[in-house]
Symmetry: none
């Protein structure tokens, strides 16, 4: 049986902008865990013919098909009718599902109307998959050794039916499959195309290893993978990649930069403070998005106005006048000022021009100074980031955390 | 020309669980604004043959097809090759795109490698659609009166190319279609089901008016719409809704809360300061996400640790000991303290338990105190927000800004 799986997501709200379709992400990840690969998601409106056609097409390509949504009580819930069309079967009431429906409605003092009773309908010959958190059951239809799963559209219900009924069923069918081995490297400080060039020059990766990239502001994820039986080759490719990328790799898992840096601070038992200008609180927000960050984060000063830089961080008016707020000298004073006033071991400071206004020829939009101070010294980096205001702030935050990381491991 | 549109989203990360595909939601909503209807999204991996097949199928059903993703510099970026396959054309370098590429790279002191130069490739005969926020241009391919748009995968770039190039092109092609008239109300302080109940009791909306809802943390968007010729009925329904919802409506357009509040502060010529505990900088970050916020935002204190609340905001150790950090008294002292120390007209303070740890029976996870101070008085609200750490922080931020809004309009 083929291990590729297709998904058909139904619901006009998924195509009108009303609702974000999260099913492909959820099912893609969960199927990968059991060695199956989601290769297609077709999202359609509540259109009986279109759904039936899509199911027919999927069955030509794969042996396992998921259809989500359209199992509710209203007239636009057409999924089971579509499947009945495909299979030339009837739609019938599942007595056990109807009994559960009455039970559930009774517990909320509601009676089952004729419309509501439609939720106990299933395709003839299907197996009902009880829905522990909602009303409409899922269904499993087996034909010629192939499997079609109908799952309720509300994400909580889909997840419940999937975990309680679908996973056991797939695991039983496919047995313990051999998953591809994977190594993940997250990189900050090199762009995607820089990494590609560097690897090309070094004839990396070896032929038997697959490589994939995923870029976000200030972060590139590099994934190496190989079949299970090539575990040793993968291991040695990973160690080659590790030497090529060096300190630019901030973690070999999927953690965010703030989790990595937070973990280092906790391990060392040291405290951090922040002083932010152009990011306006974003660095603090990212650090505190991690549960338990109070173990190492004291707090910070958002010094958006110059008078706050002076009053709260001890920045000199004279320096502001001579060098400007976006300067190496001010970044230094901000970092040293916040470290001292909050009594921290380490501090991060950022000052820059996020735009769209405020840029000059000498100090263009995207120019940012990032400083990290500790008791020994203050390190300052001048950067010019691309993109709009949002992007510049994201890059700044990521590089600021990365500079602290590099300081903590002694790389700067 | 048919007004149905199909989307083909490409990228293996969209099916592996790594990335959430938001394109269908965005494009569905934006296309509806110009009278077009998204009827299908097919999400595929970076598979040249599968993409080519999907484009062929779409062209059998509709006249406008969007293909997103796979326009970058790496070998798994196969979209333009797929299109070249479908159309039996070559892939060629677009000189203008290459020139822009060199210009953009030069501005960041980087040179265009051979890999990077692939981003200037387009399908022969296509029109390049310049990407103002990224590197890879979009493309428009016209064949037999039908249009295929290739759009970059990163959402920011997709949005820029779509708004700057695709919308004008579609509007020109389809002419000024009669779009439904629409009125938007954004509400904070009432949940979606509260609003629905209130409107039901009041027999709203009248039959000829359509109503739709969209909920996010601390915000419900209510949209009324009607055909163009019912503009008067829509107008009177809008004014009925306005009276029903009162001060809970924070804006009648699509602006975010921080833009609405920022606009009010600027209009009044007053300055704001913030003191944040559980949100860790999120309130400052949201305020400063708006360009020009330095006109009214001075800055703030992120007082994550109690010693920072005392040293920087003048909170009493005694109050912290008697009432705890998450209390009405501490919220008051934080708001008044930051207002005074930063010399602001208005201040916002938040202190709460974002979880997952730190909750008690008396002070559960989700408990938050929000304070707004001005020279006359300090208003404090106690709230209990649902959801996880991220949601609690989002709700808190939204309600904190809303409390300031209500204070500014004299509603509290």
């Amino acid at each position: 049986m083929r291990t590729e799986v297709e998904l058909i997501s139904t619901g006009s709200e998924l195509l009108s902008g009303r609702t974000l379709n999260r099913h492909a992400q959820y099912l893609g990840e969960e199927l990968a865990r059991i060695g199956l690969r989601l290769t297609r998601d077709t999202t359609l409106g509540d259109d009986r013919t279109a759904i039936a056609d899509a199911v027919r097409s999927s069955l030509e390509r794969v042996d396992v098909v998921f259809v989500t949504g359209g199992l509710g009580p209203t007239v636009d819930d057409v999924t089971r009718d579509s499947l009945a069309d495909v299979l030339n079967r009837e739609v019938v009431t599942d007595e056990e599902s109807l009994r559960r429906l009455h039970e559930k409605y009774a517990s909320f003092d509601r009676t089952v109307t004729e419309g509501a009773a439609r939720q106990a309908l299933i395709v003839q010959g299907a197996r009902a998959l009880p829905n522990s958190v909602g009303v409409s059951p899922g269904e499993l239809i087996e034909i010629d050794g192939r499997m079609i799963f109908l799952l309720p559209g509300p994400p909580r219900e889909l997840k419940a039916v999937f975990q309680e009924h679908v996973v056991p069923c797939l695991v039983e069918y496919f047995g313990s499959r051999t998953l591809p081995e994977e190594k993940v490297f997250q990189v900050c400080g090199m762009g995607e195309s820089d990494i590609i060039s560097l690897l090309e020059i070094n004839d990396f990766p070896p032929e038997e290893i697959d490589i994939a990239y995923c870029a976000a502001p200030g972060r590139v994820e590099v994934r190496l993978s190989a079949p299970h039986e090539r575990e040793d080759e993968l291991e040695s490719a990973a160690s080659a990649l590790r030497s090529l990328l060096g300190h630019h790799v901030f973690t070999e898992d999927r953690r965010a930069m703030e989790e990595v840096v937070g973990g280092m601070l906790r391990e060392r038992g040291v405290k951090l403070a922040t002083a932010e200008s152009c990011t306006g609180g974003l660095v603090g927000e990212r650090i505190t998005a991690v549960a338990g960050s109070s173990d190492y984060y004291l707090g910070g000063i958002i010094s958006y106005a110059n008078k706050v830089k002076v009053a709260e961080l001890g920045v000199d008016w004279a320096t502001l006048a001579s060098d400007g707020a976006v300067s190496e000298a001010v970044a230094r004073q901000m970092a040293e000022g916040v470290r001292e006033s909050l009594g921290a071991d380490y501090s991060i400071a950022v000052t820059g021009i996020a735009g769209p206004a405020g840029g000059t020829e000498e100090k263009p939009v995207g120019l940012v100074y990032i400083a990290v101070a500790d008791k020994h010294r203050t390190i300052i980096k001048k950067k010019r980031f691309p993109g709009d205001r949002e992007w510049i702030r994201l890059w700044t935050c990521q590089f600021a955390l990365d500079l602290l990381r590099r300081r903590l491991i002694g790389a700067v």
